[in-house]
Amino acid sequence: MEQSSLTFRYKELERAWDGEKVYEVFIGPQHPASGHMRFIVRLDGDIIVNVEPDIGYVHRTMEKLAETKEYIKSIPLFERATIIDSNNITLGYVRALEKLLGIEVPPRARYLRTLLSEINRIASHLYGLGLAGIFINHSTMFMWGFGDREIWLQLAEELTGARLTHTYSIPGGVRSDLPQDFKDRALKAIRYMERRLKDYMKIFFNNPVTVARYKDIGILKKEDAKRLGIVGPNLRASGVRYDARLVEDYGAYREIDFEVPVREEGDALSRLLLRIDEIKISMDIIRQVLEKIPDGPILAEKYLRLIPPKLRKTMEETGRVKFPGLFASLRPPPGEATARVEMGHGEVFYHIISDGSPKPYRVRIVTPSFRNLLLLRYLPVGHRFMDFPAIYGSVDYFPPEADR
């Protein structure tokens, strides 16, 4: 790509505005959308000339706190950034930590991680689609999305023991094995959801009212998406075939056939439809995982040896992993590691620097919502004010994730 096209003519993205004609509308932080975020929207008549996202309302200082906690304690810490997609966000941290520690994960644990990741992805997409519905006052979509999300939360709860904050992946494996009747229940849920998605199409995505609100709104061109470093479904809806599942070797994705859905239009409707495509793919992956999952241990041999034999026996009976005492003070050798994991919202990036002590020297986390924040500034310019909720809904922005 040529150098000049990459130059970010930052001011030119926004139309030059005349100070007298423009007025400001403050949206938030208490607003009917997802809340905890403010937009300063500058309008010329009804046309948006500039949007300034004012974030930081949920900044809980995770990077600083990670430096004061032992390695394993940061798993629940980072999980709180996106509790609606918690296995995916912790998996990145766990992967980076495993690279530092030099641990191989047993195959069954990799499959289980993939299983929960995909369940989380579906739940996260349904959450986003439900909100996209309520943003244009389509409360049926909101209720359907949030209602059907409960199915996946119930499955995740049966697997891990918590509705949202699973804290499932740990260095070297996962925390609990598949329950006996899980496969049967998961397949029922998938068959229900497949039928249900057809009704979703009828009542929402093909509904001319929705199409009128979402189609040809907030078009993100392929070149711009690349230039702005967008990630996740928002990127793929613009025709770029990029997914961290293809990039990073984590979970069981190398052993599973799956297509990464791509759409070319790049408008708000295609961003929503892409999430429907991803739900279908995820259900397919869950099917394959349940089919192919190998037997074996769910924790790395290195740690399994440290657990007393009596506890190992109860572990086998209950299917729940006991931690070796070493976990309270894991000491990776000095060095650095990066990891990328595809969340429902996009790619999460971790960089851990270790100095050999039980606490990390520095943990850097860049979440997909933070990277997609540029979209909220770039896409609405030139649209009418009431298109703004539609664009915000289609981007699937999650403020606690962006603010960390």
Partner: protein
């Protein structure tokens, strides 16, 4: 016969007297019971998402748990609400907004703290950017959990309803936010 209202109403200015009369009226037992019963079934929380517990709060008002059965309907403008539900962490920047929202709500108003981040910080207890909401507002119910289950949210509503019906709250008292930051 001397009207019992005389002694209350016929002192001070008109506005003051009217307020006193209305309070006297509302505190009379049958009306008071009716009032409390009505309030307890119209707890309208303001749609003020402070953090990620909002996901479970949404789940509580959605099909599976359906908090609307309790007359608990999230509403957008603080002017039409009487319940502030702090959903998770309250950061310093958000606390300013929370105080404004609380001040805008008409009386009687109640506060529920949801999630351990709102109680004592939870996993973020030593963070430099959070505040403890119970230092700012008079709180009625505390829900533990991170995040609490929607059932726990329903439980807190039931507890608050009982509290209201037992007339445990004092009208027009202690409803100014405490503290500065």
């Amino acid at each position: 016969m001397v009207c019992p209202l005389m002694g209350i109403v016929l002192v001070g200015n008109l506005e003051e007297s009217a307020r006193k009369a209305s309070r006297w009226f509302l505190e009379k037992p049958p009306i008071r019971n009716l009032r409390d019963w009505a309030i307890s079934f119209s707890l309208w929380p303001v749609h003020f998402t402070t953090s990620c517990c909002g996901a479970e709060f949404a789940a509580a008002s959605c099909p599976r748990f359906d908090a609307e059965r309790f007359g608990f309907l999230p509403f957008l403008s603080p002017r039409q609400t009487n319940l502030l539900l702090i959903e998770g962490t309250l950061t310093r920047k958000m606390a300013e907004a929370a105080k404004i929202v609380y001040q805008q709500m008409p009386e009687p108003k109640f506060v529920i703290l949801m999630g351990v981040c709102a109680l004592d910080g939870g996993i973020f207890h030593n963070s430099y950017n959070i505040v403890r909401p119970h230092e700012l507002f008079p709180v009625d119910v505390f829900i533990p959990g991170c995040p609490p289950r929607p059932e726990a949210v329903a439980r807190s509503i039931i507890m608050l309803q009982r509290k209201v019906r037992n007339s445990k709250y004092i009208w027009g008292d202690g409803h100014e936010p405490k503290g500065e930051d």
